[in-house]
Symmetry: C2
Subunit: 586 residues, 2 copies
């Protein structure tokens, strides 16, 4: 089983050396936050991830969550680890201080979130959903609902879920058929069946807060007729004490490829009592409040699993003795050299390393934009919001596709042993695979990026993103890096602008390639900027390591952008020309 160690050195380089977090906090008026506090949180987060939840990751996969007598049983140790988690305040990091949250900047919490999913993705997922539910209730819930539910969701005493998908309504929520009717007493009766509900039930807490999309009678058809309801597992009295069970139940637990320790439930609501969040028929807008955050968190999961796989592969490559190096015998005292001496193994490890570190830089840059959106003056906050909107589908789509590639490379470095469950490398592939599918498939992300974020916004989000990266390029000191970064950024910006003239069909045809093209370009700029920063590091390993990894990225990863670019202005004619019969010659 790969032994997870939080990548603190890289995180600290990115946060302090590269992003200069202390200055960033100062600028936002957050004088209380400094490098020492950040490091303390990182260290404590690392300890929790490494010592408490990582040891439960393999056993959780083997045991799976189970449904026994209509109740979910999670794997051994999961509930205790969760109690530890909330007791130490980890769940409350980002919560609103008015409801007992710690209200920390995202840039402090997100590195810890990365660690949690690296260490035990199945365990972590339930608290991710709780964080999403908190955002929706905080932004759109009535004061009464907030007072009743937010403190317990923020502390983690209760968890939250998101109930969107139905068997015939996934990518297209306009088709959903769950119903709600007004009880006349301020509450609603919600009826319907939902699928793929992560943490639909668990044995960790005595209540679960379900957020459920449903239609009111006479609601307009399509997405404009969907409302959002808060439907608790257990009903409360006026004092907020649990009284009785609501009329909802777990129909079954899905048998999945991975993420087996996380209970993914079919949920049945049968005139279950609920309260509306936001206005009638405006439920989708409430969901979109947290969509950026949820999608970004999924991208982060991709990064987390990539890191875990890289660590496993690196340790194995250092240890595994097999054949001799093409440079001749390296370990004369051994019967063979470690496979670290094989160029092809290094190609795999450096692919993992360069993409993972590049994606980490992207995720933490994104986190600072979240800070700015939250704390800065409106004009600056607005620009940060635009950057976030633009980068969200890139983070979600690219970092999870990357995770499929990198976790598979992790298996490949292990050879046949990678296929054996006890090593834990194949679990990372199985766990990772969901991230490309949920919170909108990556195809949906790609279409969101090119249609909604690029074209329909008339390039404003693009301009804000370009501006942010331009400032970064402007700050590069090394002339060679600066020229490369400048040219790359401008190529991307010009190409993006040219795309805005395409018709709807060709845009859809180009969507996926544009998402990947943009990712390789932008991460390329980040790498050049990081390598420049690293030149001033007094840590020899960081200085040379970042330079060498940047060189690898530029030479072997960045050229991938050209393949994607080539397809952007190909019209979609070839995609549509194939008739239905021609697909299988029937």
């Amino acid at each position: 089983m790969p032994q997870y160690t939080a990548p603190l050195k890289d995180m600290q380089f990115i946060l302090h050396d590269w992003l200069n977090l202390s200055a960033h906090y100062q600028k936002l008026g957050l004088e209380d936050y400094d490098q020492d506090l950040v490091n303390e949180i990182l260290n404590q987060g690392a300890k929790f991830a490494e010592e408490v939840i990582a040891p439960l990751n393999r056993s959780g996969d083997e045991q799976s969550s189970k449904l026994v007598d209509k109740k979910v049983i999670t794997p051994d140790g999961f509930a205790d680890a969760y109690k530890d988690y909330i007791a130490n305040g980890w769940n409350a990091m980002l919560g609103n201080a008015d409801y007992d949250g710690q209200d920390l900047p995202n840039s402090m919490a997100i590195p810890v979130h990365e660690m949690l999913s690296s260490a035990n993705f199945s365990w972590r997922l339930i608290s991710v959903l709780t964080e999403s539910a908190i955002l929706a209730v905080d932004k759109h819930g009535s004061n009464n609902l907030k007072a009743q539910y937010l403190p317990k969701l923020i502390s983690g005493e209760w968890t939250g879920t998101m109930n969107l998908t139905e068997p015939h309504a996934g990518s297209d929520l306009s088709l959903l058929t769950s119903k709600a009717k007004d009880n006349g007493d301020g509450s609603y009766a919600v009826t319907g069946s939902k699928i793929f509900i992560s943490g639909g039930d668990q044995d960790w807490t005595d209540n679960i807060v379900h957020l459920v999309l449903a239609r009111l009678p006479n609601a307009p058809a399509g997405v404009k007729g969907i409302s959002l309801f808060l439907v608790p597992k257990m009903l409360l009295d006026d004092a907020g004490k649990i009284t009785q069970a609501n009329t909802l139940s777990v129909g079954s637990i899905e048998k999945k490829m991975g993420l087996k320790a996380c209970p993914t439930c079919v949920m049945n609501f049968d005139d279950a009592k609920g309260w509306i969040i936001g206005e009638e028929n405006k439920g989708l807008a409430c969901m979109f409040t947290m969509m950026n955050d949820a999608r970004f968190q999924v991208g982060l999961q991709g990064l987390s699993i990539s890191e875990a796989s890289f660590q496993g592969a690196l340790a194995y490559a250092r240890d595994r003795l097999q054949s001799r190096s093409p440079q001749g015998i390296q370990q004369t005292d051994k019967k063979a050299d470690s496979i670290m001496h094989q160029p092809d193994v290094r190609r795999m490890l450096l692919t993992q390393k360069s993409l993972t570190e590049g994606a980490r830089a992207l995720s933490l840059l994104y986190a600072t934009q979240m800070d700015i959106e939250k704390y800065a003056e409106p004009p600056r906050a607005h620009k940060a919001k635009q950057v976030i909107e633009f980068l969200t589908p890139i983070c979600k789509g690219f970092m999870t596709d990357m995770s499929e590639e990198l976790s598979n490379l992790g298996i490949q470095v292990f050879g046949g042993h990678g296929y054996i469950r006890e090593w834990g490398m194949e679990q990372l592939v199985r766990d990772s695979r969901i991230t490309q599918l949920y919170e909108g498939t990556n195809g949906i992300q790609a279409v969101d990026l090119i249609n909604r974020k690029l074209v329909r916004d008339n390039g404003h989000m693009l301009a804000s993103t370009y501006e942010l990266f331009s400032i970064m390029v402007g700050n590069i000191g090394n002339a060679e890096y600066k020229t490369q970064a400048h040219d790359l950024l401008n190529e991307w910006n010009e190409t993006s602008k040219q795309l805005m003239t395409l018709n709807a069909l060709d845009l859809s045809g180009a969507a996926y390639d544009y998402m990947h093209y943009s990712s390789y370009c932008l991460i390329g700029v980040l790498w050049l900027s990081m390598a420049d920063t690293a030149e001033h590091s007094d840590n020899d390993t960081i200085r040379k390591g970042k330079a060498n990894t940047c060189a690898f990225y530029m030479k072997r990863m960045l050229p991938r952008k050209n393949g994607f670019k080539e397809n952007l202005f190909n019209d979609a004619e070839d995609l549509m020309a194939v008739t239905d019969m021609e697909f299988d010659y029937q």
Copy 2:
């Protein structure tokens, strides 16, 4: 669960229209074999694959093979399906007629082999190993061994296994430590532990023939001191009747990512009685006899799973109604259009289709070369052998890497449902993953291709392969296709020749890229040739379908070659520059 239907129309197009199998048999003096016989075999093979073993594929994965009281129990129905298989002579297709085999050309058997692995890869794998064992015994075994074992291996009354890998000797067999000593009576005593033994035990047959690599006392170190032994599970008397159990046992069944229905065993040999195959210390050469065949069969498994995934994705995309087409409403009678109308879904399906059909063409072209090697006069047979040697790592490495990509696209077309086990799409990903690892990891294939096949052979295998493809290009009638194919083939040939000047380190660094570069180029030539052939088809769907799929391949798949090519002449300096500490900044 995807419903498997053998792709007979495509196979028939490739075999009859494109490869002109009847003329091919005539030329080899095989006048008895004609189109009708081939079609009859295809039809019967399809029936067996679709009706007998495909229905056992999902249940087999859920049940897995189990070890109970030291005996392997395979999933329900597996043993009966095997009895059906051997009763109908499928196991004997390629066997030597002197030992009751049917001695059919590979080009007849291989399409059936493709179907078997598409329908139920786990079930099929045991007979693949038997075929490998047959090749080794037939070529290198004594007459006595052949008389005793071949008829029963060929009929399938007994199965065969290959025992190579040990915990610390996988890619590098020179490190293996299993021992054998001469009993002085013509037999040997074999002792050691082997891992990853597919079909190490099963409940299908009353004997199993293990081929085991071990070292004799005082054998030279390394691969020159390895001998091959035939070690049966049950010992025989002089009349060939089973007498008593040999001293070998199953230590455990590996818990794997996929391929769960196939019993992958740890085998313990404890002074087990065996007989040498071939000469002492020449065991590795005996193994290499069947290496091309075994590796090709693994490539074929990649193709098989790609086809199965494509079929599942296509059926789902036709059925799944979600959102509207970017071209406007297509299915006015429905609440949404099928996702077949989404360009991005078509991009995924056409990626599956174009690579799968291209790889099928490659596999069947390879099969005809096997026919030529077997039946033709020496000079022609020798050239075919060279082509086979060159194309083997390409088939193995590319077609299995392709299978990882394509089976994952199959999940992606399904969205969240792809992650759920009952749909069967994720099983294809898990099953497929082994193909990139066993019979030599794909990194080993890449190094084999560039070092052994290209450089050390001084380009002779390259020249024979180039010649075969040149003849094909010469036969293209359509001028546009011909020019494209000519340019592509020559670019590849020139690039390959240039590589021969690189040093050992840079060759290793370029190996993986060269394998993929070659694959996209050569399959591009095959596509142009097939599209040319299809122009003369009287089947409208084939004619247009092949033209459109070829156009897609040229536009969106072939450009991938450029990314690989770009890395070929980059030296490996960037790969080696990163010091050990820099990998994780420790």
